[in-house]
Homo-oligomer: 143 residues x 4
C-alpha cells in the first residue's frame, strides 16, 4: 500500500466524528485487510444488556470501508452502497475486535467481508459477519 492510501485510511478514522464518538480504534491496516478494536462501555448496549446491533453494524461497516479504501486508487474514496449482516450470537463482553477482508476489489464496486468478535481477552467469539459493497468514487462524482 502506498502512502497516499495509508493517508486515506488514517483520514477515515481521524475525521469521522461518529467513529471518534463511538471509540473505534484502528489496530492494523494492510492492503485489503483492516483490523479495529472497540472497548465496550454501558453506552454501547441495547435494552437487554447486549451490544446494540447498531454498534456492531458501525464497526463492521467502518472497518470494511477502511479495507476497501486501502486498495482504492489515488484520490478515490469509498462509500457504502449495500450492507448485510447476520447476527450469529448475542454479544457480551469487554471489547469488540473486527477483521475486514477485501473479497473483490473493482474499479467501481469493491466487496468486503467483516467478521465481528466479542468477549473478553482470551475468550473472543464470532458474533456477527457482514458483507459490504462499497462504491469507489472520485470526490467529484459523490453519489
Amino acid at each position: 500500500m502506498d502512502n497516499l492510501n495509508k493517508k486515506e485510511v488514517e483520514r477515515i478514522f481521524s475525521s469521522a466524528p461518529f467513529i471518534a464518538d463511538l471509540g473505534l480504534e484502528l489496530t492494523s491496516i494492510e492492503p485489503g485487510e483492516c483490523r479495529t478494536r472497540l472497548v465496550l462501555a454501558n453506552r454501547h448496549l441495547q435494552q437487554d444488556g447486549f451490544v446494540h446491533f447498531g454498534v456492531q453494524a458501525t464497526v463492521a461497516d467502518h472497518t470494511a470501508g477502511a479495507a476497501g479504501a486501502s486498495v482504492a486508487g489515488p484520490g478515490q474514496i469509498v462509500l457504502t452502497s449495500d450492507f448485510s449482516l447476520k447476527l450469529l450470537r448475542s454479544a457480551k463482553g469487554t471489547h469488540i475486535e473486527c477483521i475486514a477482508t477485501v473479497l473483490k476489489a473493482g474499479s467501481s464496486l469493491t466487496v468486503v467481508e467483516s467478521e465481528v468478535y466479542c468477549g473478553t481477552t482470551g475468550d473472543m467469539r464470532l458474533v456477527s459477519k457482514a458483507t459490504v459493497t462499497l462504491a469507489v468514487v472520485s470526490p467529484r462524482e459523490k453519489i
Copy 2:
C-alpha cells in the same frame, strides 16, 4: 395493541443506552408500524460530511425492532437476526425520520422494512431502505 406491548416498545426506547446516546426519539407507534426521528448533529457524520452509515443502520434497526415488538406476544422480546440495507443517496440534512412497517409477523421470525428519510423540514428524501429479520424469543431462550 394491548398495553403490555406498548410497555415493551417504550422499554425499547427508554432502556437502550446506545439509543439514548444517539438521540433517537419515538414519534409514533401502531401495531406493526413505528416512526422515529433523530435530530442530526456533527457527531453523527462520517469523514466526508454525510450521515454515517452506522447512524442510518442503527435508526433502521431500532425502529424495526420496535415495530416488531409491537406485534409480539406477551412477554416476548425481539432480537435482530439478519439486517440488510441499501444506501440510495448520500444523506445530509438537519434530521432523519424513519418508518418501519411489519411485512410478516411470525411466531419465531418477524420481517420488517425500514425506510430512512433525511433532509430538512419540507424537503425529506428517502436515503436508505432496510429489511430486518427479528427473532421472536421468550427471555429465557435468548440466543
Copy 3:
C-alpha cells in the same frame, strides 16, 4: 419508455435460455415497473413439495432486471450485482406472479424491489420479497 428500451426488455425475455426453459412470461412493462407470471409444474418444486427457492429467486431477479432495463439509457444493459431475498411463507399453488418496482434508478447502480406472489387464481399470497441491485453498464464495460 421509448421504443429502444422496450426492445431491450423484450430481448431480456426472448433471448435468455434459462428463462425460456423455466417458462417465465412477461405480463406487462411500464417505465420502472415490470410484471411477470409463471405457471407452476412439478419440475419447479423442491424435495418437500414447495416451489424451490431457486425458482423464486430467478423470477424475482429476472423481473427486477427487466424493470431496471426499462429505465436504463439507450444502449445500456443491466447486470445483477447484489441480490437479497426473504422467504415469508412456504410457496404452493398453480402459478407465481411477480411485480418488480424500481426504488432508485442511477447512472451506475439501480435498486429494484420484487414481490413474489404464489397461490391459485383469487387466492394469491406474498411468499417472498427481494431487493436487487443492478449494475448499469455499456456492453463494452461488462463486468
Copy 4:
C-alpha cells in the same frame, strides 16, 4: 454425521425436481460442508451469454441447504429463510463448482456460506458468494 442425516442429504438431491432438472450433482458431503457440481449447457445462460443469476442462486442455495441438513437433528428438515448473494464477476465456462460451509449451526436457525466457482478445469474463479439462513424445523411445523 450419522446415517440418518446422510439419508436426508441424499433425499435433498434425489427428491427435488428442480435440482434434477437443473442437473446439479452432489460431489461430497461432510458434517457442515457440502460440495456440488453443475455441467453448464446453453439452457443455463441469460440474454448476454453469462450463466444466469438464477442458476448461481439455485446452486448456492441448494448446496447450503444440504450443508445445513448435514448438521440438523434427526427428523429435522431445513428451509431457506433468508438469502443474499453478491455477484463478483460475470460467469462463463464449462462448469460450476460450489462449496457450502456452515458458519453457525443453531437449533432454530443455521447460517451457511456458499462460494460459487465457474470456469474450465484448471481455471476456476470465484464468481459469487452467498450467505444463507436456514430455518431448522420438524416437518409438522413447516412454515
